[in-house]
């Protein structure tokens, strides 16, 4: 994915590393591990993901994976905060990311909720990002830090894009890890042609001759294919493409 980055203090590849981690999640328990890894890489106080409208997965209650303390999770459940949490209500109403500072704390209920959250170590500052999926599924991705207000403004400027991107990747991985959707691989016509001739046993040079493109062009497409299919070599890509019916079987 193409992402313009602002200056960053973190190691340059924090986002790319996290995307790879999240995209290769296969089991549900890895979601929580990935949230913790992200929390550490970005020096966050906490991270949380909640999913809605995901078929049977969210029939009883929303899907949730959070790094909050057990204390806060228990308190949240006992007091049925799911019903009054102003963040959840706001995020479901809008497509804009929401800074927790923008809530009106002159409302005593809201103030008490945020004070209790702060006491339970949720974090000094937080932002929640709405995710909209294709099938009316939706998600809420939140991160918190203990940064002072001035640093928080700077932090948001630097990393808003990272978290927007990661929010969607987490959402997708929750759907896939819980078999709500099957992973979708889409190849362009040219990529299908290149992979088909490779599956037929043609070398890159031969495939280039057959398709009337350069050897470099073939290599370019093969790289894209491996990236799209999340494969480490061509054999793996051919096997996966055949399994998912992306190419017809070679003659």
């Amino acid at each position: 994915m193409y992402i313009k980055r602002l200056n960053t203090d973190l190691e340059e590849d924090a986002l790319l590393t996290m995307i790879d981690r999240v995209d290769t999640i296969k089991k549900n328990n890895e979601i929580h591990k990935a949230l913790i890894e992200m929390k550490d890489r970005y020096s966050l106080r906490n991270a949380a993901y909640m999913g809605y409208n995901m078929g049977s997965l969210t029939q009883a209650e929303p899907y949730a994976s959070v790094t909050y303390s057990e204390e806060w999770v228990n308190q949240y459940r006992q007091k049925s905060y799911l019903d009054i949490d102003p963040v959840l209500r706001a995020v479901q109403k809008s497509i804009l990311p929401i800074d927790w500072q923008s809530f009106d704390i002159s409302n005593p209920k809201v103030r008490r909720f945020f004070n209790e959250a702060k006491d339970a170590g949720v974090g000094r500052n937080g932002i929640s990002i709405p995710v909209r999926g294709r099938n009316r599924d939706s998600g809420i991705f939140s991160i918190t830090t203990n940064a002072k207000d001035a640093d928080w403004v700077q932090f948001k400027r630097q990393y808003m894009r990272d978290f927007q991107v990661l929010a969607v990747h987490f959402h997708q991985s929750v759907l896939i890890a819980n078999n709500v959707i099957q992973p979708v691989f889409k190849l362009s016509t040219r990529e299908v042609e290149v992979l088909y001739w490779t599956a037929c046993g043609k070398t890159g040079e031969e495939a280039a001759l057959i398709l009337g493109i350069s050897k470099r062009g073939v290599r370019f497409h093969v790289c894209n294919i491996m990236h799209k299919l999340n494969c480490t070599n061509v054999t793996h890509a051919v096997a996966k493409a055949l399994y998912f019916n992306l190419i017809k079987p070679p003659k």
């Binding site: 992402i3 479901q92 809008s94 497509i95 894009r161 927007q164 959402h171």
Partner: protein, 213 residues
């Protein structure tokens, strides 16, 4: 001035929202003759149900809506993927956390006419700057849109030239394009210097309200 309204708040702001749908009917049905559904003089489509974010250009003196645009994330249902997929080469999609789609960019008759010495009208300038400002709040890199040649010229005149992606197609009487618009501080500065806008066009209270609805 740009007033933000979430789709989920349409009951609360029904007067504004209805005016928007009426202007959309005048523009897309009567003037451009697109195949859109109009009921009781209001143009409403299925994407209005997916809780978009509306940008409404309001005349501060009369409190009247003069034009609007609609934003939807490209990760969810959107027009380019669900209505105009032919505009992109096969199997290519625009689906990114950092790209939202702008659609139904429109304004009432007359609101398009620039003041003497200006390249674009006040309403046009506000909507385009407003989209860029909202994009910055959300951390977007680009806004994608489907539009005709007239919009290409308007965008260029507004200091926000489109990067055409995919192939233009004839839809109805018009050539239709898919284009990307950059979202950045520099892009916003270009829009401001091309249109003469100074400072934010977003109505502050509506921003606060949308950020903590």
């Amino acid at each position: 001035m740009i007033f933000l309204v979430n789709g989920s708040e349409k009951e609360q702001y029904s007067y504004y929202i209805n005016t928007m749908h009426r202007i959309r009917a005048e523009v897309f049905h009567e003037r451009l003759q697109w195949e859109v559904n109009v009921k009781n003089g209001l143009e409403i489509d299925r994407f209005d149900e997916f809780n978009p974010l509306y940008l409404l250009s309001i005349d501060e003196e009369t409190d009247r809506i003069r034009g609007s645009a609609r934003l939807l994330p490209t990760t969810g249902p959107n027009m380019l993927r669900d209505v105009f997929p032919t505009l992109l080469p096969d199997n290519e999609v625009v689906e990114s956390a950092l790209i939202w789609e702008s659609s139904r960019f429109s304004m009432e008759p007359g609101a398009e006419t620039p003041l003497p010495g200006q390249l674009v009208s006040q309403v046009t300038a506000e909507l385009i700057a407003g989209i860029c400002e909202v994009g910055l709040i959300a951390g977007l890199t680009d806004v994608v849109s489907v539009f005709d040649a007239r919009m290409v010229r308007i965008m260029r005149a507004s200091g926000s030239p489109a990067t055409i992606i995919g192939k233009p197609h004839r839809i109805g009487a018009f050539m239709t394009y898919a284009g990307l618009f950059e979202v950045s501080e520099a892009a916003l500065a270009n829009i401001r210097s091309a249109t003469g806008l100074e400072g934010s066009v977003l109505e502050r209270q509506s921003v606060t309200r949308c950020l903590a609805a």
